[in-house]
């Protein structure tokens, strides 16, 4: 069984937010419910400052605090490393949202970010969904938190589990340029114009993600929390100094 992980090269990332848009389209998320987002931050002191950016999906941690705190086991970790939410079990207590150190969880019936609100333009018409968009993901599966979100629960990035989980067994990397794996590659990875994102099996020593982590000294965000993210970041120029290097 693979242990899926992502590598994001901050030297290549242009902060264009194409990943954010692709994620929203793929997963029918509402504006503001950005399962994938790009953070901007300033380094240095005026006048010698630089703006940098940092793409942030769910980290699908090895030891996720959201899974630990969920009282009903609605948030769970799959054998292949993804952290998912069973919308049938979520009671909407939102403890996971407070427990996540990365701020990548969303409550589905929040205030609309834009006006007019898309929920009003495409109302759910009495269904249990938050809205009724013209395009709907054909892979709806509430046990995995995939599809248009129901009301009163928490949602988050699934690593596009509806694609990734159908990948051929034993494959080391999922790549847009490989015709055999293209369809199984997460939307944010496929759409990334500068090819700053890589997706593959962290347990496979021959995977490109593993080699990149080793060769380019991949780092993880907020290591001190002990969550052990499965999303690694590369890039000498983009790397945040507070990151800690993995021991291996």
């Amino acid at each position: 069984m693979a242990k899926w992980g992502m590598v994001i090269d901050l030297d290549k990332c242009t902060g264009c937010q194409a990943c954010t848009t692709a994620c929203g389209m793929e997963n029918n998320t509402l504006p503001g419910e950005n399962w994938q987002d790009v953070l901007y931050y300033n380094v240095g002191t005026y006048p010698n400052t630089t703006m940098k950016w940092f793409p942030r999906p769910c980290m699908h941690c090895e030891d996720p605090s959201c899974v630990h705190v969920c009282p009903t086991r609605a948030t769970y970790k799959t054998e292949d490393g993804a952290v998912l939410i069973d919308w049938n079990k979520c009671i909407g207590c939102k403890y996971c949202m407070i427990a996540c150190p990365y701020g990548v969880r969303f409550y589905t019936d929040e205030k609309p970010l834009l006006q007019p609100a898309l929920q009003d333009i495409f109302p759910s018409n009495g269904s249990r969904h938050t809205w009724n968009p013209p395009y709907k993901s054909p892979h709806e599966d509430w046990t995995k938190g995939i599809g248009i979100q129901p009301r009163g629960v928490v949602s988050k990035c699934t690593f596009c589990y509806h694609k990734v989980s159908r990948a051929p067994a034993g494959v080391a990397d999922l790549d847009e340029d490989d015709p055999n794996t293209k369809e199984f590659t997460p939307a944010c990875v496929r759409t990334c114009a500068p090819k700053a994102r890589y997706f593959g099996d962290l347990d496979n020593p021959n995977s490109r993600v593993n080699k990149l982590i080793q060769d380019k000294r991949g780092v993880r965000l907020l290591e001190h929390t002990g969550n052990k993210p499965q999303v690694y970041y590369l890039g000498e120029h983009g790397t945040v100094p507070e990151f800690t290097r993995p021991k291996s």
Binding site: L39, P71, K89, C93, I98, P101, G103, Y107
Partner: protein, 413 residues
């Protein structure tokens, strides 16, 4: 001859029915607020994706914490063998149950999917402190119900000590669990502190005792059962000690935080951030909720005055609510420190101090929980005998007359 204490129901007089009518109205408004929130979702609240626990949580945790502390009086009587408190123990047990039910009602109705409560009862994640709390709350209700039985049924009186001890230990664990909901959260700099668990225990002692005193005084004045000065003095001294204890823990919590750069951010934000949380902390909690009641309870001019003790109790509850507001909402208002020391922005409000203004439905839901507690307590006291017929010192404490006579003689000598 043994001085047997008689218990009697409170009178269902005009004041009683007026109280029930008021509480019924508030409960009705809370029910409307609940359905309104269920129809429109959290859009109708002040909560957002950053402040996910709002005012209803403050009300709920205030009542849950108070429930544990309301049992103080019973515990002192049963566990620590102070006989003078034993006649006051049934009311203590009753308040523990009604406060907890009121708090849990608010907590459950504020869930995204309260209709799935059965899932919370049947799918336990034993790694989750939240799931542990579900067991602790339900267990507390059962143990206190048993405890009340041993207190109120003469044949069961002999079991009141072991059951009282079990209830005492259970409530310590319960409040530890409630404090640990926040204490275990490594992700948030404002939480992530083991001291929150004992701090919540002390908070339960002070808020619970204040609620107990207020209920006792209200029931006594509404039924012409004057409370003896001796017992009131004991209770008010105890309240003062608990208020000072909470203040001590809060000081230690922030001083400890200020030693480490990571957690200092959180304490600086609360203590000197300039937001409403700073005002609430200093004005509502420190001044109104701690220093003022301490002054009222121990100043020679006001010490022992029942009205002053009542005022101090009200201020203690207000201060406790203020402290919980700052802990729960202030802790979420502080943005996540993804890149410490740097200015961060995103489309998800990263790097910003998160704003929260409670909406009317949230306020009504929380107030409804309090009204539910008051109504249940009043009805229970009118139906069952929770309060002694007389609350005079010589009735509650058979040794009081002799003691006071000796003290007076010694003073004269």
């Amino acid at each position: 001859m043994k001085n047997r204490i008689r218990f009697r129901e409170i009178e269902a007089n005009r004041g009683f029915w007026a109280l029930l009518a008021l509480m019924g109205t508030l409960i009705g408004l809370a029910a409307l607020a609940f359905f309104y929130l269920k129809i429109y979702g959290h859009v109708a609240t002040g909560m957002n994706n950053q402040i996910v626990w709002g005012l209803p949580h403050v009300f709920a945790i205030l009542m849950i914490v108070a429930a544990s502390g309301a049992l103080n009086v019973a515990s002192i009587g049963s566990v620590f063998g102070r006989k003078v408190y034993k006649p006051l123990a049934p009311l203590s047990g009753l308040l523990a149950v009604t406060l907890l039910i009121g708090g849990l009602a608010v907590l459950v109705l504020d869930l995204g999917r309260p209709d799935r409560l059965i899932i919370a009862m049947t799918h336990y994640n034993f790694k989750s402190i939240f799931a542990w709390n579900i067991i602790l709350y339900n267990g507390f209700l059962v143990i206190v119900a048993l405890y009340l039985w041993t207190l109120m049924e003469r044949r069961m009186n002999r079991y009141s000590k072991p059951v009282g001890l079990a209830a005492f230990l259970w409530r310590l664990i319960l409040t530890t669990g409630t404090g640990s909901i926040f204490g275990f959260l490594v992700a948030r700099d404002a939480y992530d502190a083991a001291i929150l668990a004992p701090m919540f225990i002390l908070m339960s002692f002070s808020i619970g005792l204040a609620v107990y005193l207020l209920t006792l005084m209200a029931a006594a004045s509404g039924n012409n059962r004057p409370i003896g000065h001796h017992i009131m003095n004991r209770l008010k001294n105890l309240l003062g000690i608990f208020i000072a204890g909470v203040l001590y823990f809060v000081v230690v919590f922030h001083v400890t935080n200020l030693y480490s750069e990571q957690n200092a951010v959180a304490s600086r934000f609360i203590l000197a951030g300039g937001t409403e949380h700073t005002t609430i902390f200093w004005l509502v909690y420190v001044v109104i909720g701690s220093l003022l009641p301490l002054a009222i309870l121990f100043a020679p001019q006001t010490a022992g005055n029942p009205r002053a003790i009542g005022l101090a109790s009200v201020l203690t509850v207000i201060g406790g609510a203020g402290l919980l507001y700052v802990i729960i909402i202030g802790g979420q208002a502080l943005p996540l420190q993804l890149f410490p020391g740097m200015e961060v922005s995103s489309s998800f409000a990263d790097g910003q101090v998160n704003a929260y203004t409670p909406s009317l439905p949230e306020i009504l839901l929380g107030v409804g929980g309090v009204a539910l507690f008051v109504a249940m307590t009043a009805v229970a006291m009118a139906v069952l005998r929770f309060l002694p017929e007389s609350l005079a010192d010589d009735k509650l404490d058979p040794h009081y007359s002799a003691e006071s006579t000796q003290e007076e003689a010694a003073a004269k000598a």
